[in-house]
Symmetry: C2
Amino acid sequence: MTTHPPAADDWLPIGEVSARTGTAVSALRFYEELGLIASGRDGRGHRRYARHMLRRIALVSVAKRIGIPLQDLREAFADVPLDRPPSHQEWQRASRGWKRRLEERRRTIERLEAELTGCIGCGCLSMKACALLNPGDSLAEDGSGPRRL
Amino acid sequence: MTTHPPAADDWLPIGEVSARTGTAVSALRFYEELGLIASGRDGRGHRRYARHMLRRIALVSVAKRIGIPLQDLREAFADVPLDRPPSHQEWQRASRGWKRRLEERRRTIERLEAELTGCIGCGCLSMKACALLNPGDSLAEDGSGPRRL
DNA sequence: CGTTGACCTCAACCTTACTTGAGGCCCTAC
DNA sequence: GTAGGGCCTCAAGTAAGGTTGAGGTCAACG
């Protein structure tokens, strides 16, 4: 309903970016503070976002959705430039990093699904066999040791 | 290295539960405060955990690992009794609920993986086609609408 | 008999991820 | 010319998920 023209169209104001990415304006400013995204300024000191930033913001939202901490994103984005559209190659490399993370997470869940299925089968009556109960090796090897399991 | 005997062996002290589940003592007390787990008390007012509580604690840890908020757990645990070992049937029903949650989460990730793969293929040059950029329908249908995409 | 260890409570603090509010600037419309 | 919309900054507040610390009890060890 605003009568604002879409500006340069390749240089979007924060409200537009917010609407398109579904990310709150305040969150965008916050991500910028963290160095996860960047923006330029127009004559009035208002933020302007390059189009390639939408991709980056989308990835931040995705990370949030699956519970990856924002700090980890800095690392994931390490080789993707903030100041210009990433090259095809840069983007590919980053994407592969992302896929790896997603895959790890998916496998964790798959493993848990399998374990839970096992538990349904066994009724989890057998404590020593339950992988859910013994994640990693926390049970073994300490001074007091597992007792009479 | 303590010389404490393992107590009644079916009624574990908090330190033992912490060691076996890999959950901090403080976290166990916190979960109890939230009503996610429960314990009895011995003569000295010390918490004692029934064995079946280990399962429950394990599930809380799992939820944490995959980013499910603790509040959602109350719901997931709604039909599993706190005061006695759940019956095989009760446990099965709860487990199935858990599986559903895990599955949902896994599918979200799978979808994102697929989308990201698409992006790698296309180099994400095509903004309008990128599912990552347009999660849900946030782009369409508002007053200002997408412009010249 | 003192001290060490495991546990207790309650209150304060911490991190992450934001949101909200106060106070202000600029531009356009009525 | 003033009302409103969109943006700005900076500081404070919020919610989740715990951790840390102070101060205390009880029981066993040496």
